[in-house]
Symmetry: C2
């Protein structure tokens, strides 16, 4: 196939031809003091006309804009290393469960990168069935690309859009919903949907991939199969994150949306349930093994209640040694409505923060304490500093993740600014975010 | 013994007598809407004349100031539940190693609470030998109470004082130094000392306790014995944290000071080595089992180099969905010299931060990227956002803990404000804070 057929046209094609470079050749690009070495990939249709896509040796694709001060060089001629998608697209049987698949962005859609290059997923039902044929034996998929953004750019407004689209599909009567999402902030979105989608009748499953699917070590296929199977078959009607449970391809874990956190920058088993066990092990489309028996049961007759509002004037800040009051003073002056503090230990903060925290609460700002330890529970009755903070009106975050407490406070403040009511809601377990008591067995063992 | 002999005098003794309350009775105190139930404990000499100390059922001591609007009630007469310290104080042999023990505060000194009540450690050599007689077989201890503060109030100035005191002891020729420290910010102090105490000749060991030592489940004794043994005998001359390795009393772990983090609010094995293995298992005073062979060897002839300066104008902030530029704009306007960002995933931040980050760097402020994942390594060459941030001049934090990157940036900025030099130092491994490559095996397994 020619450069043009792979999407490279005009000046870009001219430059590549000048260097005798075809798609799948190994090339070197020098730009702005950076050097990129990798395989030239097919170009996404929606990508900028100046951009070439190369697959780095770490398996990631990167788009580089080629301008006058860029040097480009052929290292080695190559050929397509990847199989073409099958020509015959499998079709699911009519009696299979009906699952909605909502695309929002992220690496999970990057098996499609093989066709489009890297960045823009071509998210059609046919493509998904072509790429992961197993899916056609699990569910009738109903695909919808809602938007396609880096998950670090996800905002509360995006959460609302996702929640609305999920509600729309549930009203249509689907048996479950899968949301493809970038992994960076998937935990935050999972928490947001857990609060926004009250009284769920069917499972809502967030899924992502830590490595794009054309890498040998990709987690995309098992994650997607497990996620669709969970949406189609799981007995629980909860918002969950389904991601690899180990570094092998043996099973995924379904984590409750309010208790899950990305704990590793790159590993496939990066997602962890914190202060609780995962809901289930998902062995691809083979079986669902329940770990936890305490969940809302699937019931298509249950009526979903959508409470999809978030107050964006909430900040999540972390305490540190030598911290002064200026950051909290800024948040007050800037008009924030709520502050979630990642304090130390059982829920402490430096004495230098007592005065600004008092001022914040006096001015009607909700202040919630969580712990930068990540694991464990806030207990502010133990040491003097905790008691002092409680007396100022700080709301203890119990065993909530800081990220979940942050999302919950946005959700609560969108309903009420009355601090007594905010306190009451923050201390009430609404979507599994607060355990009545912590289970010590959920702290991962240290292997040395 | 009378109330007065236990430290309760004047009006306080009168009130207690009026209610027929003696020390070790179970009492109930109602104050400001809070209820405290526990055992009345002996009163520390330095505590406020109005304060009673009670031991709550969770094992913690708490001091409550008794005023006119406080209700106090006897629930049950009691008697001392704790053994008295032995009358004969053991004496260490003259040929034992010489270890300095520096007190800075925290629960670790709370076995002394048995005598003094709760809050103020009576930190003399005799008391320590009385309370933990095993220590007299390990080392000749040289005790120094430097200060006694909650670790959440520890500041860079305190780090400097600790570093100076350690240097003083090392110049006197001790075989090792132990620092008793509150657990909340022990990881930060350990990192600070790792940078401040260059070219160490002997081990410097931070130790704390998660539970005070008069509780059945206390970790104080094993931690202290292991810490003193490490200081006296370990083959490595590094700054380490020695804390419980499991929830049983079988061994402690020695964690490298730049790679350790408190990961649980209350468990005894709360401290974890992140992105690296611990240096050693310490079985009390029985043996030291090396896990890692790559360390600076103990050598009393090596000359310590003290670089104990920290620029306090550094902030540690965390990104969150919907985050706007205002917090970074505030840090610029307020005159900060450095910002460590806990971004998402491989080192990303919302696009809304690009402009303020550019402004910060343009104005000479060092900006370092770390990951809120905690485990793993920053890699900003993979996705477009990372590349954009790198091009603005953001310094990638490699596999440094956010807390360690924060401490290191304070240390680096105290030496130079030249951004090129700051970058070079931040990217250089100075005290084990950067691994040349990450070891996947150091991520704790998920037990489900």
């Amino acid at each position: 196939m020619s450069l043009e057929e792979y999407g490279y046209r005009g000046e870009l094609a001219r430059i590549l031809k000048e260097h005798n470079i075809s798609v799948y050749d190994r090339i070197l690009i020098e730009k702005d003091g950076f050097t990129y070495e990798g395989i030239l990939m097919p170009k996404p249709e929606l990508s900028h006309p100046d951009t070439v896509i190369i697959k780095l040796d770490n398996g990631y694709n990167v788009g580089i804009s080629i301008g006058p001060n860029v040097r480009i060089r052929l290292l080695k001629k190559g050929k397509p290393a990847l199989p073409s998608p099958p020509k015959v697209v499998p079709r699911p049987k009519e009696d299979l469960p009906h699952v909605a698949l909502i695309g929002t962005g992220g690496t999970i859609a990057s098996r499609v990168d093989y066709k489009t290059g890297a960045v823009y997923p071509a998210f059609t039902t046919e493509e998904i069935y072509s790429l992961v044929p197993e899916l056609s034996n699990i569910a009738r998929l109903d695909m919808h690309l809602l938007f396609n953004i880096f998950s670090e750019d996800m905002t509360p407004q995006n959460w609302v859009k996702i929640a609305n689209k999920v509600a729309e599909f549930i009203q249509k009567g689907v048996d479950g919903v899968v949301i493809a999402h970038g992994t960076d902030t998937m935990g935050y979105t999972a928490a947001a949907l857990s609060f926004a989608l009250q009284n769920l009748p069917v499972p809502v499953v967030l899924v992502g991939a830590q490595r794009s699917s054309d890498r040998p070590s990709s987690d995309a296929a098992l994650n997607l199969i497990s996620a669709v199977y969970t949406a189609a078959r799981a007995p629980f009607a909860e918002v969950v994150v389904v991601m690899h449970g180990t570094t092998s391809d043996n099973y995924c874990l379904a984590h409750r949306g309010t208790k899950v956190r990305k704990c590793h920058t790159s590993r496939r088993d990066a997602f962890r349930s914190i202060n609780t066990k995962p809901l289930a092990r998902i062995y691809g489309s083979k079986k669902i093994e329940l770990i936890c028996r305490d969940f809302r049961k699937r019931d298509k007759n249950r009526k979903l209640k959508l409470v999809a509002k978030f107050d964006e004037k909430v900040a999540l800040i972390k305490t540190f040694p030598g911290m002064k009051g200026d950051i909290i003073e800024h948040l007050i002056d800037y008009g924030y409505h709520g502050i979630v503090i990642e304090g130390t230990g059982l829920g402490h903060a430096p004495y230098t923060l007592l005065k600004p925290i008092k001022r914040a609460i006096d001015e009607g700002i909700a202040v919630v304490m969580t712990s930068q330890c990540i694991w464990g529970r806030i207990n502010m009755n133990v040491y003097r500093r905790g008691v002092e903070l409680l007396r100022l009106g700080v709301i203890p975050g119990e065993d909530m993740l800081p990220e979940t407490a942050f999302v919950k406070l946005m959700w609560v403040l969108a309903q009420t600014r009355d601090l007594d009511k905010v306190r009451e809601l923050m201390l009430t377990n609404i979507a599994g975010e607060i355990n009545p008591r912590s289970e010590p067995s959920t702290y991962p063992p240290m292997e040395v």
